[in-house]
């Protein structure tokens, strides 16, 4: 009898785990069915400390079924003024200017193909901000000569690229298996602080099949952040403190010299 009960017990335990297992698997497959694309950022907070020299932002994702993958990384919008130098008495001086409002301060993207133009139409590229030419770079002032706008737009993109704030070319989406992928974005030391958006697209037959976005914060932390915040929020006090520190340093150096 006891032997029988023990058998029943162990049987029910096995049955329980079996049912649970089936349930978990089906639950997962249900999620997977609902979301054909999932990704996660290894670090959703990039800390700029005093020793910060840039970092690599890694993202791991999973796609279900076929389709190409696009990942874009966009920094906080900032208004930027572009200036053109021309010669005045032989010296190169800023003359013409054009201001662009709310352009991404930082931009990088990665594709599972080599060229974004193979994925979708120009309109869709623009809608989803895929590729440098798809970024919305519109001048603040209206009624400006088209040629001038084009000239300054390309100058802005060039400047941003030279300063490693816009990517030179699309990064690669690296497949770890058939469906798991990984993307690395390299952020330089002077990456602008603020809220970033990472957008992942699953593209099939020229259409965006699925879209997912996550936010990411790049911020000064610790000492750097304290100084920055203090200098902005209590500007006078900060200036006065700088002077006090300098005075103390001057006094100290004089004191040390006199002693030695």
């Amino acid at each position: 009898m006891t032997c029988c009960r023990r058998f029943l017990n162990s049987f029910s335990a096995i049955a329980f785990f079996f049912v649970l297992g089936v349930y978990v698997v089906s639950a997962f497959s249900e999620i997977a069915a609902a979301e054909p694309l999932q990704f996660d950022i290894a670090d959703d907070y990039v800390e700029i400390t005093t020793g910060f020299t840039g970092t690599t932002l890694s993202m791991i994702g999973y796609r279900k079924g076929r389709g190409d993958i696009v990942l874009t990384l966009e920094g906080p919008p900032r208004s930027t003024v572009v200036r053109q130098k021309s010669q005045v008495f032989g010296a190169w001086v800023n003359r013409e200017t054009l201001q662009f409002d709310n352009i991404p301060s930082y931009y990088d993207f990665a594709l599972s193909v080599d060229d974004e133009k193979k994925l979708m139409s120009d309109e869709l590229l623009k809608e989803y901000h895929v590729g440098l030419n798809a970024l919305r770079v519109v001048p603040k002032e209206k009624r400006i000569d088209e040629d001038k706008i084009k000239l300054f737009q390309s100058a802005l993109l060039r400047y941003k690229q030279q300063h490693q704030l816009y990517s030179q070319k699309a990064g690669a989406v690296e497949f770890l298996g058939d469906d798991f992928f990984r993307v690395d974005f390299h952020l330089p030391a002077h990456v602008p602080a603020g809220n970033y958006t990472v957008r992942a697209l699953l593209v099939g037959k020229g259409k965006v099949v699925y879209e997912d976005a996550q936010s990411l914060r790049v911020g000064l932390t610790g000492f750097s952040s304290d100084i920055y915040e203090f200098s902005r929020n209590h500007a006078f006090l900060y200036g006065a403190l700088c002077v006090l520190i300098a005075c103390f340093a001057g006094w100290l150096s004089n004191f040390i010299v006199r002693r030695s």
Partner: protein, 305 residues
């Protein structure tokens, strides 16, 4: 070691900045000059934004002039009353300078203005120093001594109102003169991040007629206040004072100056002056080249603040 500058929002090599300020400190130790006029262009060459370079350099000058003035103060070579009258003009000058700076920045001409003013300044000083060396080689410094002894304050200066007694300097002149000299120093501190000793010292001797013994100490004394005012104004109006950069500059300056004082014994007056003139003229030349040679890219971009 890369270090992140919180205000400049960029990473720089701490050793490089330290060596740079130590080098300038060394020069100031050897030659007894402030050296602000060399640090700012050097920082700009290293890619630190001109606005941050100027404002931060002003804070470094507070430290170096403080250290310098204390020595003079101990020896009693500071005319405090004269210094304070100069400071009153200097404070106004630094505020005016900040507004000039802000306007130039708004117009997108601050880089050009700083380069241009430095070219004139460094070119002028460099050439004058070389000329003076040649002249003094020929005349064996008689000319310089004579100039000091024969300096007569011009009647135009004496005719100005608001006369004031300065017992320490044994002068009875219009307060407008020292205040005016201080004003120029204040503008220079705000716009260029320099103490302006090279301009203030001769002005105090030749225009004001102060005893040369008191000039260096009094000039340094007022430079503490004008650069302090410039630092606070830059922090308040432009948010461009980077204390991390400032501390590296101060540290480098102090260390460099100590070595400079030791090395000064091995430098003879004439050689020293020509060496400094050549350094100043090379920096000037680099600025001229940067301004006149066609840039690789004619376009530049900047965030609107």
């Amino acid at each position: 070691m890369q270090i992140y500058l919180p205000i400049a929002e960029m990473a720089v090599s701490a050793e490089t900045v330290f060596m740079l300020s130590a080098f300038v400190g060394l020069l100031s130790g050897i030659f007894g000059v402030g050296g602000g006029f060399l640090t700012t262009p050097f920082l700009i060459f290293f890619g630190i934004p001109p606005a941050v370079s100027v404002a931060t350099q002003a804070s470094q000058l507070v430290a170096s002039s403080m250290a310098g003035a204390m020595g003079h103060f101990r020896r009693g070579n500071v005319d405090i009353k004269m210094g304070l009258v100069m400071v009153s003009g200097g404070a106004v000058g630094s505020v005016v300078g900040i507004f000039i700076f802000k306007l130039l920045r708004y117009l997108g001409q601050i880089d050009f203005a700083i380069s241009f003013l430095y070219i004139i300044l460094l070119g002028g000083i460099g050439i004058l120093m070389i000329m003076e060396s040649f002249v003094s080689v020929l005349k064996k410094k008689e000319g310089v001594r004579k100039a000091f002894n024969d300096s007569k304050v011009s009647p135009w200066v004496l005719s100005l109102p608001y006369k004031m007694r300065f017992p320490r300097s044994k002068l009875f002149v219009s307060a407008l003169v020292p205040a005016g000299i201080g004003f120029v120093g204040g503008v220079l501190a705000s716009v260029l991040g320099i103490g302006g000793g090279f301009l203030i010292v001769p002005a105090m001797i030749y225009i004001l007629g102060m005893p040369p013994l008191l000039v260096a100490g009094t000039s340094l004394f007022q430079v503490i206040f004008t650069t302090a005012a410039a630092t606070i104004m830059h922090a308040l109006m432009n948010h461009t004072v980077d204390i991390v950069l400032g501390l590296i500059l101060i540290l480098g300056g102090v260390v460099g100056a100590q070595f400079g004082v030791v090395l000064a014994r091995f430098f003879k007056g004439q050689t020293a002056r020509v060496t400094l003139a050549i350094i100043i003229l090379s920096v000037c030349l680099k600025l001229v080249v940067d301004l006149f040679v066609m840039p690789v890219d004619l376009f530049s971009a900047e965030y609107v603040r």
